[in-house]
């Protein structure tokens, strides 16, 4: 089911550390991005840290994901109590070229070729008590995307992961109820993948007569 039950004892009690002032930020100072990167890469040498636009991204292998995320939550320095966001980006396989835009601001051509398509899942971890946040990125092949679920670490990931499953087809192992969330249950395809067209889906309702398409019919029967 889609309901969320917070799992007692799975996350450290943050309430005690939280400030009671109204300044918004905890008394404890935020870590700099370098410190965060260092702290995690020392512990997990396989993690690759990258900084751009004043944001930190940690590229994590899917196998390490759960461990890294749990570490970020439980570590006293990082103390990320909040999973702010979880989203997907699809990078399809093949040659992709978008020639230099004949537009007013000229950034270089976009030219990539990938042997394997990738669905990249981005986690934004945030520390409320220390006021810093950073991004964890985990990639998975787009033909059979599969990642461990972080719902055990952050129950809030429940809806997020269902959304990413809905839109990108990523199977999250260990998710309590991995069903579609925004699209109808019987929808075919994962609409936010790049190989899914923007529109062009036949409208199953014509001339004000409700004729459900075959794959929808038994749903209707149950409802009636």
């Amino acid at each position: 089911m889609s309901h969320v039950t917070p799992v007692p004892g799975t996350s450290p009690s943050v309430g005690a550390q939280l400030p009671t002032t109204t300044t918004g930020v905890a008394g404890r100072s935020a870590l700099s991005l370098d410190d965060i990167a260092q702290r995690i890469t020392v512990r997990f040498p396989a993690v690759r840290a990258e900084q751009a636009f004043g944001e930190l991204t940690l590229h994590v292998e899917p196998d390490d994901l759960l461990e890294v995320v749990t570490f970020c939550r439980d570590d006293d320095e990082l103390s990320c109590e909040l999973l702010s966001d979880l989203s997907g980006v699809h990078w399809p396989a093949g040659e992709h070229t978008i020639a230099r835009q004949t537009s007013t601001t000229g950034w270089p051509d976009y030219r990539v070729s990938r042997e394997q398509g990738v669905v990249e899942v981005l986690y934004i971890l945030r520390s409320v008590s220390r006021n810093h946040h950073f991004r964890i990125s985990a990639g998975t092949v787009d033909t059979s995307p599969r990642l461990p679920s972080v719902t055990g670490v952050y129950p809030t990931a429940n809806f997020h992961e269902r959304e990413v499953y809905d839109f990108f087809g990523v199977e999250f192992d260990g998710h309590p109820d991995l069903t579609r969330i925004l699209m109808p249950d019987d929808w075919v395809g994962h609409p936010h993948r790049k190989d899914y067209p923007l529109g062009g889906i036949d409208i199953p309702y014509k001339n004000d007569k409700f004729i459900p398409p075959p794959h929808e019919r038994d749903l209707r029967e149950v409802i009636d």
Binding site: M1, S2, H3, V4, T5, P6, S11, V14, G15, L18, T20, T22, T23, G24, V25, A52, F53, E55, T57, E81, L82, L83, S84, D85, S87, G88, V89, H90, I98, Q101, T102, S103, T104, T105, G106, W107, P108, Y110, L122, I124, V128, N131, H133, R135, P155, T156, N158, F159, H160, E163, R180, I181, L182, M183, P191, H192, L198, L219, V222, I223
Partner: protein, 446 residues
């Protein structure tokens, strides 16, 4: 029981499979108008009731499946997606400027917040700073929007509790705020007024006086709400100790905004990670410790007052100057304004591009038809919307269109807490619980 008559038909939703095999045996399928048979069939008073998606008190098209033990809710399952619009995908085929037009329609009660967050993300990728005047105007509009949004929350929340007066109050004042928005942007809602690089156009000449008068009016009217509600015994009876949630649970479930602050955590992104120059203003982040619906009501009232405080400071601060970056590659070249003839042309500019400079014409043409390109990269920009952390995770590959825009919608995340908040409460309290979360379905489903 507060059950929509239409709901009886879909008492056991087909879309939600029962949780366990044991549940399956207990399921009783209900047709219309046979409550008697249900009561006979159900021995232990356990019943699953569908509420919505078309129910007057579910804030739009939210569907809730309630597991009831008598009158007590044992589980609440929100089912969302009835308003899924595919806005995120649509922005991928439009230019960055057109993107604002789409995102503003997500959370339609706080359109400026969507625009601002999207534009802040774009500006972060572009590496540009917007002029100070644009920043201050943004803050003023954002805070007015926060007030308007909380007013609608008060109105709809009041209506759901049967208080029509509150609803009339809320909509009455909101109209005044919308008048101001309309004068500046041309639209009452869905403005697309904040653009990457600044604002679509400068504010009107009487903006200062109008805003100041509006703040005064709102301050006065705020007293009405307080007089009517804060000590109101019915309001207390309906809201106090209903929908309780504590800080730990909030953070685990990702709940932010007034709900988190009502549980005692002074977390406000305007303070924690100031954007748009919020560090310049003095304001307080109200918190309460009760964590129930009444605390959330008080928090929102106080937030409105703080917003007015910010607006007053911003009005004093409002500097002159341009409202769009001085970068001809990004800003639209002509600053058009409505002429006396009702046509928004700028004769001097037209003479320039048509008669004097071919390059300027080409530049204008490209900028308008193709837009500008944005350097490749990924950013996540959160702002504090009236409902909590509204984050834009934007990916660019260096073209004139976003590669992917993902919205961290506060309503979507907060809705997960409805289950925890409603358990053990009566059916009638479910309405209060959902209202006090203030989900906007456009934000939930996007």
């Amino acid at each position: 029981m507060a059950i929509d008559p239409t709901a009886a038909h879909t008492a056991t939703p087909a879309a939600t499979p029962p949780a366990t095999a044991a549940d399956l045996d207990d399921d009783i399928y209900v047709e219309g108008a046979d409550w008697e048979s249900v009561v006979d069939a159900v021995s232990d008073d356990h019943i699953t009731v569908n509420m919505g998606p078309q129910h007057p008190s579910t804030h739009g098209v939210l569907r809730l499946v309630l597991d009831l033990d008598g009158e007590t809710v044992t589980r609440l399952t929100p089912i969302v997606g009835y308003l899924h619009t595919g806005i995120e995908k649509n922005t991928e085929v439009r230019t960055w400027v057109q993107g604002t037009t789409f995102v503003t329609r997500m959370d339609y009660l706080s359109p400026f917040f969507n625009e601002a967050a999207f534009c802040l993300a774009t500006e972060k990728l572009l590496g540009i700073e917007v002029p100070e005047r644009a920043e201050v105007v943004r803050v003023i509009l954002l805070e007015f929007n926060r007030i308007a949004s909380h007013l609608v929350w008060l109105a709809t929340g009041g209506m759901e509790l049967g208080s029509t007066t509150v609803m009339e109050f809320g909509f009455r004042e909101r109209e005044h705020v919308l008048d101001l928005f309309e004068a500046q942007s041309g639209l009452r809602m869905n403005h697309a007024y904040i653009r990457p690089g600044g604002l679509a156009q400068d504010v009107t000449d009487d903006f200062l006086e109008r805003s100041a008068a509006l703040v005064d009016l709102l301050t006065e009217r705020m007293r009405d709400y307080e007089d009517l509600l804060v000590e109101n015994p019915i309001w207390h009876a309906r809201l106090k100790n209903v929908g309780h949630i504590d800080a730990d649970t909030c953070l685990r479930l990702g709940v932010t905004g007034p709900v988190l602050r009502a549980a005692g955590v002074p977390w406000d992104l305007r303070k924690a990670q100031p954007y748009s120059g919020y560090e310049r203003y003095e304001f307080e982040v109200p918190t309460r410790t009760e964590g129930d619906s009444f605390a959330r009501f008080l928090i929102r009232l106080e937030e409105m007052r703080q917003s007015m405080h910010i607006i007053r400071q911003a009005l004093e601060l409002l500097p002159g100057g341009p409202v769009m970056v001085d970068d001809k590659r990004i800003a639209w070249p002509s600053q058009q304004s409505l002429g006396a003839d009702g046509i928004g042309n700028d004769p001097d500019y037209i003479r320039h591009i048509m008669g004097e400079s071919m390059e300027a014409l080409i530049n204008h043409f490209k900028l308008v038809t193709q837009g500008f390109t944005v350097p490749p990269g990924q950013v996540y920009v959160p702002v504090e919307s009236p409902r909590g952390e509204l984050g834009y995770a934007v990916t660019s590959i260096g073209t004139n269109k976003p590669y992917r825009v993902h919205v961290r919608a506060p309503s979507f995340v907060n809705l997960q807490a409805a289950d925890v908040m409603a358990r053990g409460q009566g059916v009638a309290d479910v309405v209060v619980v959902v209202a006090s979360l203030d989900p906007v379905m456009g934000d939930v489903d996007r």
